[in-house]
Amino acid sequence: MTEPTADQPAAPQRPGLSRRRLFGALGAGTAGVLAAGTAGGVVGRATADGPAGGAHASGAAPTDAVPFHGEHQAGIVTPAQDRLHFVALDVTTDSREDLVALLQDWTAAARRMTAGQDAGEVGAVDGDRYAPPDDTGEAIGLPPSGLTLTVGFGPTLFTTADGRDRFGLAVRRPAPLVELPSFPGDQIDPAISGGDLCIQACANDPQVAVHAVRNLVRIGAGVVSVRWSQLGFGRTSSTSNGQATPRNLFGFKDGTANLKAENGSTLDRFVWVGDDDADWLRGGSYLVTRRIRMLIEPWDSSSLDEQQRTIGRTKGTGAPLGQRAEFDPVDFTTRVDGEFAIPETSHVFLAHPTNAGTAILRRGYSFVDGSDGLGRLDAGLFFIAFQRDPGTGFVQVQRNLRRDALNEYVRHTSSAVFACPPGVRDPADWWGRALLSG
């Protein structure tokens, strides 16, 4: 998988079928396009199903489509794209029928957009001149750009905060889907936390991600209301061995020891929901988000030694302290000058699976939301983790970070947990069918 990195800028080698080209080609009815199918959807799928797609495919260009259909939702073990638009929504209706219709409409639009097509069947510019277009148009001419759309259901979809079972789903709430506990030092703002539903849009072009969320939110008018949203501009984790480890805003490589798409059995153990949980969720995963504000200015003025001892890795190569290279094994017994090379209060020491006793798939993004009223950078990490059970995943890891030296430099300002259903299997399937059609 070639991802653009600082060392290896990836030119768009094999751009996917752009929206404009798609419609142009359809209009012209060229033989090549017709060979792939006669309807727009089929052409789009042909693009998506080509040699480009798939978490395990090699050689995918950043402009290509990622297949929408599959056993699992895309956007989890899919090699992390560069851009994020995450949105949490509340359902404003009590009508189960409306909720189902929305999930079906969303699925259809997502199927099209991830294939590089317009949100609606008609398109941004081909509709009635007196009607508002069924696509907002800012992605015209842009390739699929690796867009993935991942949907999750929050605890409040099953039972509202004041205990109402609006959709008859209370009995189907999976036991692990509960609000996260509070952790020492939390500064959680409820206004940017929680949500009945979430959509994670990831793409290699920010405009493609924003376009997708904007159109899905528009489709949801009258049924859902945006509760909060977050843009992310740079991935902070690798989720595949083919990706170089990116740096977070502390300037350190992040996600070196992450779970990767290639770790099949490990993913089954730590990421995918198995047969010991709710039936409808099998093959899905739990999504935890935390907006982690970094206190940039104090960090920047701390010494290199302090920074490295706080993280537990070198800032240059990302090697564990006491080792030479990034992927050298983390050895907590190594001593330098009689002291442990990796301090027991360092982030790596406390978060590493060896000491945390568990593993999670991290898929976070850096964010900069301008500056705060004091002129300080309002920046940090929008942390995203996927796991088989939040209790034995994020919660267990986070509890272990109570003594983390990094806490001095971070504040958790938002928190949410969602159950992401399994993948949409085929053109007749839709997000949440197993939950809502039963």
Binding site: D128, R129, Y130, A131, P132, A191, A221, G222, S225
Partner: protein, 384 residues
């Protein structure tokens, strides 16, 4: 109101003349086609009190009827004739205790409801009214022509009250009655905000009457409602406002004359209905419209009523072409009204600066959803 953006396409003088002419003929065609009879000579008496609304006749022949509404109650009242879906066929407002006012309304055969609204509030005291006569189905063109004529009737029902209430407001300002003027300000604006789609057609008057501070070009003065609003609420005075009050009344008189004679075509109605909802989203929910008085919810309610009146005029056509859309629009108008209804107070509405973020979000969500539905109306009427 936004002054320079999102205005309905300005009409050239020639086109306007043509439109007005067409308006008259289509209105004539409408009444001829529907009534199958001439003027109705009889007058239907309506005895309105604070808890009753006795209409002298519950069955009428198709045609034009005059309702004489006498208010023997203690509260100011209104009288409406509604077709299905609370489509306003005719209304007369502001009937003070002891007064009798007349409503002239043309009623084709069909089922209607009459309503008195003591306190000018709520659904009113309803009664059934059956109109019999030759009912024939209208062609699509006739249905649309009737929509224009019907909306024109609605405009005419509002302009009288607009003039009356603006006069009262101006009188209070010129008498130096700050508290009286403050009380009348949102009331006069209600009639203005209901008929904005037609007011905006007259592009040069609109900014003079309803421009906001900051909208003016360099060297232009802020005039109209918002100039006086600023003096009343920020300065707590009417000092120096007489010239502005005089000018406001002159401008309103002029727009009332123009509006009474203007018929909007169905596409303008559809776009006007949507534009009114945009006004709510961009001006009222944000609190920009009445930034000194914070009476934005009065304007919100008026925009919503005006939008519904325009959509309801198109209803017979929409029921033929897109019944699902009609159902969705009905549902979403009701949802928005319910959302807004939470903030009704004695004699008015909660001030904008007393609404919480959550309350504003609820209002915003309902208007956004309604707007998505109403935005589909234009295409539905543009297809002949």
């Amino acid at each position: 109101m936004s002054v320079r953006d999102r205005r309905l396409p300005l009409l050239t003088a020639g086109l306007l003349a043509a439109l007005t002419t067409a308006a008259c003929s289509s209105a004539d065609a409408g009444s001829g086609a529907a009534s199958g009879g001439g003027e109705s000579a009889d007058t239907v008496a309506v005895a309105a009190t604070d808890d009753a609304c006795d209409v002298a006749s519950s069955e009428l022949p198709a045609g034009t009827h005059s309702f004489a509404v006498t208010n023997s109650g203690d509260q100011v009242t209104e009288f409406y004739v509604y077709a299905e879906g609370d489509r306003v066929m005719g209304e007369v407002e502001n009937i003070a205790p002891g007064l009798t006012r007349e409503l002239l309304v043309e009623l084709p055969a069909g089922s209607y409801q009459t309503a008195c609204k003591p306190g000018m509030d709520g659904d009113g005291i309803r009664g059934d009214l059956t109109v019999t006569g030759e009912a024939r189905s209208l062609s699509e063109d006739e249905t649309l022509a009737r929509a224009s004529a019907e909306y024109q009737r609605y405009v005419q029902s509002q302009t009288g009250a607009l003039l009356e209430q603006t006069t009262a407001f101006v009188d209070a300002v010129e008498a130096g009655d700050v508290e009286g003027a403050k009380a009348l300000y949102p009331v006069a604006r209600t009639y203005w905000e209901r008929i904005e789609p037609v007011a905006e057609v007259f592009g040069d008057l609109d900014p003079l009457i309803d421009g906001r501070e900051g909208d003016q070009a360099e060297g232009e003065d802020l005039t109209g409602f918002h100039r006086i609003e600023q003096a009343l609420w920020v300065g707590g005075t009417t000092e120096g406002m007489t010239p502005y009050a005089d000018q406001l009344l002159t401008d309103v008189q002029q727009i009332v004359e123009l509006a009474d004679d203007t018929t909007l075509d169905p596409l303008q109605l559809a776009n006007g209905a949507k534009a009114l909802l945009d006004e709510i989203a961009t001006g009222k929910i944000t609190g920009e419209e009445d930034r000194y008085s914070h009476t934005d919810l009065w304007d919100f309610a008026a925009n919503l009523e005006g939008s519904e009146a325009a959509v309801q005029a198109l209803r017979p056509h929409l029921e033929e072409t897109d019944p699902d859309l009609v159902a969705e629009i009905d549902e979403r108008f009701a949802a928005t009204e319910a959302e807004l209804g939470q903030y009704r107070t004695e004699g008015g509405w909660t001030l904008h600066d007393q609404l919480t973020e959550d309350q504003l979000r609820g209002l915003s969500d309902s208007v956004t959803a309604l707007s998505e539905s109403v935005s589909q109306v234009a295409a539905a009427v543009a297809h002949e």
